[in-house]
Amino acid sequence: MGSPSLVVSHVSKIVDDKKILEDISYTFYPKNIYTILGPSGSGKSSLLRLLNRLDESSSGEIIFDGQTIDSYVVCELRKKIGYLFQTPYLFEKTVKDNFLFADNTVSNSQMLELLAQVHLSQKMLESSVEKLSVGEKQRVAFARMLLTKPKILLLDEPTSALDPSITEAFEQFIQKITIKENLTTIIVTHSPEQAMRFDQTGILIADGKIAESSDIKSLLENPQSDAGKRYKARELS
């Protein structure tokens, strides 16, 4: 499988005496897509925030590319570990301004190509962001994140506001760049169907712990943990 890109070992997060995440350990490899499932409030977003160091873990260690994340200059680390928020935010004023904010050396033709890749019209480059729909904003934010040349993608419900037709095209794009750019892609999704379409590794988080992880089919169809069984009963009935 080659060497891991990201190793999470015994990571916990405690906020005001409340355990948000408890003893999370997992090893991620390049060219793979990991789907994180779990009830809302179980700690999925909190985990992503620790991975690109927007928050500090209370204990444990996170290793990126063979080195603990503490050893990187944090702003450089965040470019390497791209994070697409659940609620995308675009800066004023145009789509182009947002791309230049992420990388002020990017050329016009690169920006146009990027728009095409996320299935947006190239005319949109000069559009004011206020005019975009939520789904369009989500894709612009995704494209903007790619401009920092990340090796790891953390995507928090990236298709929650997309039309079904666009969703599948977008999923294919994610699969394509994950292989082509040798990325490690970690996607939080509320949709078991989407996890099935990616058809790779599934990680189920419940109450701040990894309840189980395996290939997504067996995780969804034949869960071993109580949390997995409850998840199946609720989501797949």
Binding site: N52, R53, L54, D55, E56, V74, C75, E76, R78, K79, G82, Y83, F85, T87, Y89, F91, F101, A102, A141, R144, M145, T148
Partner: protein, 250 residues
């Protein structure tokens, strides 16, 4: 008009009495506040008058500095009581006010705009500190509330690898402007709407209006600089409290 004495002050109590009568007749119920306020301001001002006389007579540099420090302490206390969202605003505000005042007064003394005598330093210092006090409270409140209500914006910038400084630059600018807005606005209308205090005082005391104007111009520039420095310093210090050393929003 001659310079007023105690007799004139006693006669001016009639003005207070009229205010009380108005309150009573129209049942506004502020008689007590008027009475307390009038006595209080009388006592405070007379005490300050004696204190200033004492300080002016001694002409001790140390005493001038101690007086400025006391004014800054009182100003910082008043300003920090108006700040709600930061845990210990007093030290940050005090430092900003002291920094702004001392740099401004220092430059004015260095350029010989004023001589380092109690009679000049203390009233000008009072004006500087009063204005800096307001500016620092406004700036500090603005930066904390802007950043806490725009967490998503700031964290989006952080997640793209921007530093805390780049991620908060927009709010930094707004917060400093908020501290300066009062002096900037008053510079626009000065003299047209109302005559500012220092100038009014000089004119009442019998000075040539043109001399009074020159002094007023210096006072405005002085306040402008002091407020700019204080606001920048207080926002610099405050914004650091809102982030961790790892560029994380607290």
């Amino acid at each position: 008009m001659n310079n007023p004495g105690m007799t004139e002050v006693l006669f001016s109590l009639i003005l207070v009495a009229i205010a009380i009568a108005i309150s009573r007749f129209w049942k506004i119920n502020v008689e007590k506040d008027i009475a307390i306020g009038s006595v209080r301001s009388f006592v405070q001002l007379v005490a300050v008058g004696y204190a200033l006389n004492f300080i002016f007579d001694l002409e001790s540099v140390w005493l001038i500095l101690v007086t400025l420090l006391v004014m800054a302490l009182v100003g910082a206390q008043a300003a920090s009581s108006r700040v709600t969202k930061i845990k210990s605003p007093f030290v940050l505000i005090l430092f900003s006010i002291l920094f702004g005042s001392f740099v401004t007064i220092g430059i004015m003394a260095f350029l010989n705009i004023i001589t380092f005598e109690a009679r000049y330093i203390i009233p000008l210092g009072g004006m500087i500190i009063g204005n800096s006090m307001n500016a620092s409270a406004l700036s500090m409140n603005r930066i904390t509330s802007d950043i806490s209500s725009n967490r998503l914006t700031v964290e989006t910038a952080l997640s793209l690898g921007k530093s805390w400084r780049e991620s908060s630059a927009l709010y930094f600018r707004d917060a400093v402007t908020t501290g300066m807005i009062s002096i900037l606005n008053s510079m626009k209308t000065v003299g047209l709407v109302a005559l500012p205090g220092a100038m009014t005082g000089m004119i009442l005391a019998g000075a040539d209006p043109l001399d009074a104007v020159l002094l007023q111009i210096i006072v405005m520039y002085m306040i402008l600089m002091a407020v700019a420095v204080t606001s920048v310093v207080v926002v610099e210090l405050t914004v650091r409290q809102l982030f961790t050393v790892h560029h994380q929003l607290k």
